[in-house]
Symmetry: C2
Subunit: 104 residues, 2 copies
DNA sequence: CAAACATATGAATAAGTGTTCATATGTAAC
DNA sequence: GTTACATATGAACACTTATTCATATGTTTG
């Protein structure tokens, strides 16, 4: 038996770090909005910035962050790059958050 | 015509704001550690700061943030205040995040 | 080639945040 | 009351971060 039996559920340092980094990504309104827009289709950068009233540069900066975190992916077609959600985790993580926020 | 975000799945502004605020709470290693410790029992402030090698003041500041977000609750017994998770959402939100982080 | 268009990127700035330090509040024992 | 203990709180500081502005990169068309 190990010395310390009370910290079984504490993740390893690297997991903990990654987890905090992941939630930081979701902890910004602009990025959340972008993720919701991507949940509805596969928009290009211009469409995103138009819909959200954000500058092209601001959107592009945030897209880079989202892509680095592997939450979204981009597909180039000509001059445009079309972005979409990378997997279903985005949906489920946000859904869990909404349950807490929309409660009562 | 008013310029608004009339997309189907986009939450209302207030929900969006609250959602970002919620994820900001999770987006910090110290707070995550505290939440994991609370997941294992009902520690007092001193126990938390001992386990996590954080100062009493730092822990107390973070506990206030977590309590304000209704993620944890405190129960006073004498000089000590014992903290615990407020509901199951904490578990499920973190679990979803871990699935993404621990993947591959 | 050049021009026009879509997107990315670097630097600067302003706003936000977590910790520390010092101190205050609350509680129990004497 | 006063002393000791447990926790909370305010201010200051260092650090992070989202946006803006200017510019660069990549792509298509003429």
């Amino acid at each position: 038996m190990k010395n310390n039996t009370n910290t079984n559920n504490m993740p390893e340092a690297e997991i903990l770090y990654d987890l905090a980094e992941l939630f930081k990504i979701f902890g910004d309104e602009s990025r959340l909005k972008i993720l919701f827009v991507l949940g509805e289709g596969e928009p290009c950068v211009e469409e995103i910035s138009d819909k959200l009233n954000m500058s092209q540069s601001a959107v592009s900066h945030q897209l880079r962050i989202l892509k680095t975190s592997r939450l979204i992916k981009g597909r180039r077609d000509g001059k445009r790059i079309y972005y979409s959600l990378a997997d279903d985790h985005v949906h489920s993580i946000i859904a869990q958050g909404r349950e807490h926020v929309e409660e009562e």
